[in-house]
Symmetry: C2
Subunit: 407 residues, 2 copies
C-alpha cells in the first residue's frame, strides 16, 4: 500500500528548488505578474514532452535543443506574448535564456524557456532584462505561488501542487505549477507544466516516467479541441532526496511514475475545472473496454463533444449526445451493449442501458447535473480496460473570453 | 462553357416529383410542420450516403436496406424525434414506410425514411398514421417549401434549391431540400438532404456522382464537430428529362456531377450560414497545396477550431489561431511558407506571410471581419491543389440553443 500526501510549496517544495514570479512589463497591467523563474541548486536531470503542433513556438524549439543532453538548472517563462510565428522568435527565446543564465551564473544551455500568450506579436526583451535582477532576488522556497501567477493567461486560479511520499526509505517530493485554460486538447502535452522533484533518477528514466504520467493526465484533458503551439511539460530532478538513483524500470521507477501520475492527474482535473468560461468539471470514465486505447478514445470523444459540453452547462441529461460522441469516436465498440449514467455529489442516475434509453427522473437528473463536478460513467461490457478523461462545460463565457481575447 | 441557373421549386422542381409538409402531431407546437413527403411519379434510380457514426439511427438502417437495389419512389421524414437509441426503432421506421407506402399505393421497400430530433425518445406512429392522408393530399409541385419546413429542427431558415441546365440537348433539373444546423461535422453526409432530378442515370452512376459531389460540399462542412447519428443525403432520378441514360463515366456524367456539386455546395454554404447560433458564414479556402487531401484537411481544421470560430464572432483578426489550427490539422505542410489573409465584401487584409505576422491595419481588419460572410484565404505555396471548407462563428446563442435543447 503506497501512501502519499499533498503538501504546500508547489514547484519549490522539493529539495533543491526555489521559485519566483514578478511583473516585469511584458504586460501593461502592472498588477499581473508576467515573468516566472524556477531555479535549481545543482545541475538536474531533466525531461520534457512538447506540443505536436507543426506550428511550434520558438521557445519550444530552443528548449528541445537545450534539453538534448537531458540536463537543466532553471526554467524561465513569460506570459502575455507567445513568441510564436515571429521572424525573430528563436533569437528572442535564446535571448531570454542568456539573460536568465547571466543572472543565475549558469550556462544559457541549462535554461528551459517557455512563453504563453498571443501568437504572432513580437516579444520585447527589454522588460525581461530590466526585471531579471528583481526576479532572481525574489527566488525562495515560498515563491511557487507567485511563479504560478506569473504564467497564467486566461486562467482564473493559479495551479500549484506538491506531493510527498517515501521511496527507497527516503522522503521524496514532486511539485509543479501549471497554466492552461484554453487551446487545450488531448494527445499532446497540452499546456505549460513545470515539475520539480528531489528524487534521484536518470534522465532517460525521467523521460519515460513523464511520458507515461502525461498519457493518463494531460493527454486525457480537453478544454476546446484546439492544440496550442507552445505547450510543454518539463521536469527537473535534483536527486537531493538521496534515494538510490533510479536507472532502470524497477519497483522504485514504478512507484515514482505512479506518484507523478497522481500529481499530474490532480493538475489535469484543476485545469479542466478552470477551463475558459467553465462552470463545472466534467469527467468521463469509461470502463469495461476491450483495451486501454479504446477506453481512452471513447472517454476523450465524449468530453470533447460541444453538444455534451453545452448539455452539461444546461444541466440537461441529454444522454443521446453521449452515445453519439461514443459512436463517432473512431473506436470499435458495440454501442448496443453500453450503459451510461450521470453521477455527482448529489447522487447517480442511470439513463441508458444496452444502448437504449431507460425511464429516469428528469428532476433527479437535474439535481445531479447542477453540481460543479459531474461524472459521465460509460460501461462498455466488452473487457476490463478503463480510462478517465477530463473536460468542462461550454458556456457563454467561453465565447465571451475568446471572441475578444486580443483587445 | 457550362451554364446553369438556380430556379424556384426546390425538391419538386425536377420533372416527376411532388412534395408536401404538414403538422401531424409529433411536435406539440401546432404551428411547426413535422412530417415531410417527397413522391415520384415513377420508380426512380436512387443512391445515398450515410452517417459513419456507429450509433446509427433506425431510419438509416432501414433506408440502407430499402436502397440495396438502388430504387426508390418516395421519401418520408419527420422532425422532433430522431428514432435513435430506441429498442423498437427499426419497427417504428419500418412502420413509417408501411404507412407511407399504403397511402401512395407503392411498396414499403420503395420508401426512403428519415427522422431528425432528440435521440432516445420513443417515436409515436399514431400522428404519422393520422396525418398521412392530409400529407398525401397536399403533394404538389409547389410543396417543396412546406416539406423543407417540416424537416427543420433548430434551423432558422428553410433550405430548398433547384438548378437547371442542358445535358445531351435536354433541359434537366436537380432540386433539393435539406436541414441541418447543429451536430454537423465533415467527412460524413452530415445532415439530411433529399435530392431529386429528372436526369436519366443508372443507380451505380448516381451513387458515384453523389459521393463525388458530397466530398466537395457536405464533407467540407462543419458547424460544431459533432457527427449526427441520423445523417443522410439521398437522391432519386426519374429519368423524365429524356436524355440518353448515363451508364458510364462519360462527358454527360462529368457534367451531371459538376451540376450536382454546384447545388450541394450552395446548400452546404447555406447550412453553415444557418449553423446554430451563427452570425456569419466562414469559408476557408486553401490553395497551393501539394494535393487535394492536404488542402481539404487544412481547410477543415481551420473552420473547426473553436478559437478561430470565436475570433470570427468577435471580428478579431487573430490569425495566430488560424496558423495554430493549420499546424495541428494532421497534414504535412510547411507553415513557414504559408500566407494568410481575411477577405469579405468590405475588402481584403493580408495578415501573415511565410508563417509570420506582417503589419496590418487592425481597423481595416475589423471592417472586413464585421461582414456576414468571411473568407479565410490560406496559400501554402507547395503545389496546385485547393479546397474550400464551410463553417460559421461560435456564439453565445450556440451555447444557449444547446444548453437547453430538450426542454
Amino acid at each position: 500500500m503506497v501512501t502519499c500526501s499533498f503538501i504546500p510549496g508547489g514547484v519549490a517544495a522539493a529539495k533543491g528548488f526555489t521559485a519566483a514570479g514578478v511583473h516585469c512589463g511584458i504586460r501593461k497591467n502592472k498588477s499581473k505578474r508576467d515573468l516566472a523563474l524556477i531555479s535549481a541548486d545543482c545541475l538536474c536531470n531533466a525531461a520534457a514532452v512538447y506540443t505536436q503542433n507543426l506550428v511550434c513556438g520558438a521557445p519550444v524549439t530552443v528548449t528541445k535543443k537545450h534539453l538534448a543532453a537531458g540536463k537543466a538548472r532553471a526554467v524561465v517563462c513569460n506570459s502575455g506574448i507567445a513568441n510564436t510565428c515571429n521572424a525573430d522568435g528563436i533569437e528572442k527565446a535564446e535571448g531570454m535564456c542568456e539573460i536568465t543564465a547571466k543572472a543565475l551564473g549558469i550556462s544559457p544551455g541549462e535554461v528551459i524557456v517557455a512563453s504563453t500568450g498571443v501568437i504572432g506579436q513580437p516579444l520585447d526583451l527589454d522588460p525581461v532584462k530590466s526585471g531579471m535582477p528583481h526576479l532572481v532576488n525574489e527566488l525562495s522556497k515560498d515563491g511557487s505561488g507567485n511563479a504560478a501567477q506569473a504564467i497564467m493567461t486566461t486562467d482564473t486560479r493559479k495551479k500549484e501542487f506538491a506531493l510527498t511520499f517515501t521511496l527507497g526509505g527516503k522522503e521524496c517530493t514532486i511539485g509543479a505549477i501549471s497554466k492552461g485554460s484554453g487551446m487545450i486538447h488531448p494527445n499532446m502535452a497540452t499546456m505549460l507544466c513545470f515539475i520539480t522533484t528531489d528524487v534521484a533518477i536518470s534522465s532517460p528514466m525521467l523521460q519515460k516516467a513523464l511520458t507515461a504520467a502525461v498519457a493518463d493526465s494531460f493527454n486525457m484533458l480537453s478544454i476546446d479541441g484546439d492544440t496550442s503551439t507552445n505547450d510543454m511539460a518539463c521536469i527537473m530532478a535534483s536527486g537531493k532526496a538521496e534515494n538510490r538513483e533510479i536507472v532502470s524500470e524497477n519497483e522504485d521507477f514504478a512507484l515514482f511514475t505512479q506518484m507523478l501520475s497522481t500529481l499530474l492527474i490532480r493538475i489535469a482535473r484543476e485545469m479542466a475545472r478552470d477551463g475558459e468560461g467553465a462552470t463545472k468539471l466534467v469527467v468521463c470514465e469509461v470502463s469495461g473496454a476491450k483495451d486501454q486505447g479504446t477506453a481512452r478514445t471513447v472517454a476523450k470523444s465524449v468530453i470533447c463533444s460541444s453538444l455534451v459540453k453545452t448539455a452539461m452547462f444546461g444541466a440537461d441529461a441529454n444522454w443521446g449526445r453521449v452515445l453519439c460522441a461514443m459512436g463517432y469516436a473512431g473506436a470499435e465498440i458495440d454501442v448496443t451493449k453500453a450503459d451510461v449514467s450521470f453521477a455527482s455529489p448529489a447522487g447517480r442516475v442511470e439513463v441508458c442501458q444496452n444502448g437504449a434509453g431507460i425511464p429516469f427522473s428528469e428532476e433527479q437528473a437535474k439535481q445531479v447535473l447542477l453540481e460543479e463536478e459531474i461524472k459521465i460513467d460509460v460501461r462498455l461490457h466488452d473487457g476490463a480496460a478503463c480510462a478517465e478523461a477530463f473536460g468542462c462545460d461550454l458556456t457563454y463565457d467561453y465565447v465571451k473570453i475568446n471572441g475578444d481575447y486580443r483587445t
